[in-house]
Symmetry: C2
Subunit: 221 residues, 2 copies
DNA sequence: CTATATTTGTAACGATCGATACAAATATGC
DNA sequence: GCATATTTGTATCGATCGTTACAAATATAG
């Protein structure tokens, strides 16, 4: 067994405590004093366990990213692109506006640090966000291969559109928007979402105007 | 005339220099050393002229907000709601991805500080963003009164949808998205534009609308 | 038991933070 | 000219920043 005095705190719980601090105050706004107080440990314990403030943030981000990737997996598992979009946006709306108190509203990948004195944190976060966008893009490209989406559909733009909505929703959530408000916004984005595999959607779908808002996709042929 | 040694720098130019620093590095990421260096003045001159770091940021934000409000005026001056949406989103895309070098990409109202150790800056920025949303909402409510929009259309949701898109676009721009990419996203959002009842403008905005027909009064009759 | 290994809490490190004291410099008012 | 008013540059303030030295505390290995 491992020798020496045993650690008196749970590493995962400490990371979760640190996560809420970074989430609420951003990377630069979260001081080591804030973090150690929230984590219930002293500075030497923190440094011995996590290395540095930036390393701690990276560890927190990794933990956060894992959960977000779990979510993305469930999103792309949907059987149609419309369901992918709905699962994604409605999930983000629910997640970002969660007021259970366990996590702050919004998204760590934005509130962690959109801009900093040093750009490494914003860049890192942007890379993580781009990763999520790539997951959506791959899903849409696959849908094109399978014929669900027309060949002239731009999978990259579609994925970027969803990420723009997601980031925008998270910004609103961080500013106090309610779940109801965010779901309304998501519903607008999802209304008339292109689903017909034979239709070039982005180009000319405005006048088709299917009656009412069509939130659930039609299954592909 | 005013007595005493005259100021050796231009207040407006100094504010613009400070703006780019806050914009790029955020409120907390911008140190007074960064600011004074960029502004080309010494700390006592800065404090004598602007009061404090927070006061300086407020002054910068006021200057920024003025320009954004000018933009919003041109947006709501469009003669149809669809044109309002297009002018807004395309304008934001162009503005946020501007790489002329005069300003950083993105939007100061986001990069200034989405999260901070102290919440006053995020709250202030959120209030300013909400103000832009209110301008859009008022424009849409007026369109309902004038009959352009059906009575069951939710003006608030529509305005929120555009702000979500705007904020999302700015996040993407801050991460390096190009104008082309952002215009594609904006185009998707505009193609999803949910005009419920007879509206001729969404389907064919290439037609430039009815040229110079309707005088637009921002104020309700 | 002793020796070794690791964590703990206390206390403080140098660097940087936002903000100022002070006197020289430069204008106006008389 | 002199008195007054304001800005300037230098030099620095106390507070806080992220980080660490150090020794007491607590585990295992023998």
């Amino acid at each position: 067994m491992r020798t020496g005095r045993p650690r008196s705190f749970c590493k995962e719980e400490a990371l979760d405590k640190a996560m809420t601090v970074f989430w609420r105050q951003g990377y630069e706004g979260a001081s080591m004093a804030d973090l150690t107080r929230a984590m219930g440990i002293n500075p030497p314990s923190l440094y011995a366990c996590f290395g540095s403030k930036e390393d701690l943030f990276k560890a927190v981000l990794e933990r956060y990213d894992q959960r977000r990737n779990n979510f993305m997996e469930s999103v792309v598992a949907a059987s149609t692109v419309a369901q992918v979009a709905e699962t994604f946006l409605m999930g983000v709306a629910a997640f970002a506006s969660d007021t259970s108190g366990k996590t702050p509203p919004g998204c760590l990948m934005l509130q962690g640090g959109l801009s900093c004195g040093d750009t490494t944190i914003p860049d890192t976060l942007a890379r993580h966000r781009a990763e999520k966008e790539a997951i959506l893009r791959n899903r849409f490209e696959q849908a094109k291969k399978e014929g669900e989406l027309a060949r002239d559909v731009d999978a990259a733009s579609l994925a970027r559109y969803l990420m723009v909505m997601s980031n925008g929703i998270c910004v609103q959530a961080a500013a106090g928007a309610t779940l109801k408000e965010l779901r309304e916004v998501a519903a607008i984005a999802l209304s008339n979402w292109p689903v017909k595999d034979a239709d070039p959607m982005v180009a000319n779908k405005s006048e088709k105007a299917s009656a009412g808002s069509r939130l659930v996709a039609v299954r592909p042929a």
